[in-house]
Amino acid sequence: MAPRTVAAILAGKLAARASRALGRGGGTAIAGLVAARIDSDVIPALAGQAAHGAIVVTGTNGKTTTSLMLSRIAHAAGLRPLHNRSGSNLMRGVAAALVQDATAGGRLHAPSRTLAVLEVDEATLPLIVPAVRPRVIVFTNLFRDQLDRYGEVDTVAQAWQRALTQAPPGTTLVLNADDPAVARLADDAPASARVLYYGIDDAGAGGSAEQHASDFRTCLRCGAELAYDVTFYGHIGHWRCPGCGNGRPAPAVRVTAVGVHGEGTRMTIVADAPDGEAPLTLCVTLPLAGLYNAENALAAAAGAIALAIAPAPIVAALEGFRAAFGRQERFHIEGRDVEVMLGKNPTGLTQVLRTIAARPGRTRLLFFLNDGIADGRDVSWIWDTDYELAQPGAVWVLAAGSRAEDLALRLKYAGFGEDVPVERDEQAAVRRALRETPAGETLYVVPTYTAMLRVRELLARREGRAAHWAGGEEGDA
C-alpha cells in the first residue's frame, strides 16, 4: 500500500477520535472526509482486502433497511460484515466505514472473513462501482426524491446506466422486476454481468387504489404508456408495454405469498436453484409491517442468494431483524409506545400511511415536514402523498417542522380539520405530542430525513438510552 494511503487512513482515524472527544457524535463522516481528501485510493485499497468482496445496495427507498438486513444475514452466515450504517452513504461515508475498520497500518482487522455491505446513494453509484468493484449490486427501486437536487428522476436513471458500464466482469445485478425503471437496467449491463431478478408474484398483495405518486408511466424502450395487471404501489407492479411487448421479467427469486401477521409480515420466498435442482423455499415471519418491508426483505434475500449464502441464515437474520434507524423504530417513554417511521418522498410516505392505517385502534400522529438540503427544498410532493389514508383512525394530529404550515394545509385537505395545530420547533413538538399521548397509547411520529435524525435523538434521550448508535447518525440521507 502506498505510504500516502496509509497516512490518509491514519489521519481519518485521528479525525474520528477527535470528533468523538469533542462530543460531535460518532465521528463517522469526518473520518471518511479526512481520509478521502488526503488520498482517493483509500476506498479501493481497503475494500480490495475483503476476501468475500463487496455487495452494494442502492435505490430510492429501502436501501438502509435492505443493506442492514444483508449485514445481519452475512453475520448469521459466519461472515464479518463491514457495513456503513444509517445513511452515511456518500463516498465519505463508505470511506469512513472502511477506515474505522482498519488498523493504523492500513489493514482490515479480519480480511479473510470480511464482506463489505455498502449502502450507496443513488447519485454516488458511478463513483463507488469502480472504487469497490462489487461482486453484487442490489437495486431496490427508483422514485422521485429530492428533485431539487437531481433535477429529474431520469438523471438518476442515467447515472445508474453510467455506473453499470464500469461494473467488473462477472458482477451480479440484483434487479427488482416489479419496477420498470430498475428492470430495464439489464439492457445496460455489460455482457459479462449476471442478472438476478426478484419480484412479488403474489397478485393478492396488489391494491386497487389509484396511484397518485407514480414516477415511471411510460415504457423506457418505446415511450408508450405502461399497462398494469397488478399494481402494488406507485409504479411497482406487474407491468407490461402495449407498444413494444416489453414487460416484467419472470423473477428467479419471488414472493409467492405475503400477508399481515400481527404487527409484522409473513412471507414465502421461492428461489430457482442455479443448476436445475428443486427450487428453494424460505418461509419468513418478518417483524416489520408494510409491503415495502416485505420487498426490502426480498431484495436482501435475493442479494444473499447471489452471494451463495444458504437459506437458514437468511431466514434466521430476517426473523430476528430489528428495525433500522427511524424505520419503524420503537421507543417506550413513560408507559407510552412511540414508533418512528421515516417518510421522505410520496411513494415511501404513502406506504407508511397505509401501514399506520392498518394498525388497530385510535392513532395519534406527529408529522414533520422539513425542507433542509437532505430533505429536498421542494415540498410540493406532499400533494401527491395520500395523507387521507391515516385520517379515519386519527384522534390527534400535529403538523411540525420547518414547513409545518404547508403540511397543516395539506392535512386540512386530507380531512384533519381547518385548524390542524402547527409547531415549528422539533423539541416543542415532541414534548407536546408526548403530553397528548396517555400511558398505554401509541404515538406515531412520521418525519422527513433531517427531522428524523433530531427527533429520534430527542426520543432516545427521553427514553434514557444512548442517543448515538455505534456508527452515529450523521448520515448523508
Binding site: 431539487d148 433535477g151 428522476v153 408511466r217 411510460t218 415511450g223 427544498r377 404550515e405
Partner: protein, 257 residues
C-alpha cells in the same frame, strides 16, 4: 336557478404529474364545494380528443423531458387546435411548468431537439444544455389581477404575492402576443434574466410556479375560478370561505429564500 357547475378538463394527469400538481385540482374542487358550486372533472390522456365546448377550465401540470416528448406529439395530433380555439373563445386555462412550455410555440430540449408546441401562448422555450444550471428554488412573485371583463369600470386590484417552487431547465421568452403573468421578487421565473414570470393570454395563465400553486395562493385560485365560471354564468360573486390555513402557508412561504 340551478347552481353553477365548474367543468374542468385535466390534461395528461398520469403523465404530467411530477410536482404535486394534483393539489391544484384538489384546491379547485374544495373551493367550489365549499360554495355549493358543482365540480365535474374529466381526465384526458393520450389519444383522447379535446372539445372546447365541454369545459370551463383546462388544467395541465409538469413532467420530465421524457414524458414531455410523448405528450407533445399527442397534444398536437389530438388537442392543440381545439385548445387554441377554446382559449380564443374565453375558456380559462392554467398550465404549470412542463405544460406551460408545451403550450408555447416550441420547446428546444437539452439535446437541441425541437418539440413543437400547442401555440396557445406566444412564447418559446429553450433548454441551454445538460451542463447549464437548472432554475431551482423557492419563488416569490408579484401578480396584478386583471379587472373583470364584465366590469371594465373597476379599478385594477392591488398587487398580490404568489408563492411556490420552481424547477425547470428551459428558459422561456415571451413574444408580443403574450404578457407576463407576474414579476419575480425572488427566484428565476421565465428565464432568470428579464424578471418576468409566466404568461397570460385572454383567460389562459401559464406559469413555472408549482408547490402546489393554487392551495397556498387562494386569491389566484378564486380568480381562476371566477374567470372560468364567467363565460357561462356571468360574473359570480364568490363568497368568502375559511382560508386561515391557506393564508398561514402563504405567509410562511413569503419568508422562504
Amino acid at each position: 336557478m340551478t347552481a353553477p357547475v365548474l367543468r374542468v378538463a385535466h390534461l395528461y394527469p398520469r403523465l404530467m404529474n411530477i410536482y404535486g400538481d394534483r393539489g391544484n385540482i384538489m384546491c379547485l374542487r374544495h373551493r367550489c364545494e365549499a360554495r355549493g358550486i358543482g365540480f365535474e372533472l374529466t381526465e384526458l390522456g393520450m389519444g383522447e380528443s379535446f372539445h372546447g365546448d365541454a369545459y370551463d377550465l383546462v388544467f395541465a401540470g409538469g413532467a420530465q423531458d421524457r414524458e414531455q416528448r410523448g405528450v407533445a406529439y399527442d397534444l398536437l395530433a389530438t388537442k392543440a387546435a381545439a385548445l387554441r380555439a377554446a382559449v380564443e373563445d374565453g375558456v380559462a386555462l392554467l398550465a404549470v411548468c412542463g405544460a406551460y412550455q408545451l403550450f408555447g410555440r416550441f420547446y428546444r430540449d437539452a439535446s437541441g431537439a425541437e418539440l413543437p408546441g400547442a401555440g396557445v401562448f406566444d412564447l418559446s422555450t429553450e433548454h441551454p444544455g445538460v451542463d447549464a444550471k437548472r432554475c431551482i428554488g423557492n419563488i416569490i412573485c408579484e401578480w396584478q389581477p386583471a379587472g373583470r371583463r364584465s366590469r371594465p369600470e373597476a379599478l385594477p386590484a392591488a398587487i398580490v404575492t404568489i408563492v411556490g417552487f420552481e424547477n425547470h431547465g428551459g428558459r422561456t421568452r415571451l413574444g408580443p402576443g403574450a404578457r407576463p403573468f407576474a414579476r419575480v421578487r425572488h427566484g428565476f421565473g421565465n428565464n432568470g434574466e428579464d424578471g418576468s414570470e409566466g404568461a397570460v393570454y385572454r383567460n389562459a395563465i401559464g406559469t413555472y410556479v408549482h408547490g402546489s400553486l393554487l392551495p397556498k395562493n387562494p386569491v389566484l385560485a378564486d380568480a381562476v375560478l371566477a374567470a372560468a365560471l364567467e363565460r357561462r354564468y356571468g360574473a359570480i360573486e364568490l363568497t368568502p370561505i375559511d382560508d386561515r390555513a391557506e393564508l398561514r402557508a402563504h405567509a410562511a412561504a413569503l419568508r422562504l429564500r
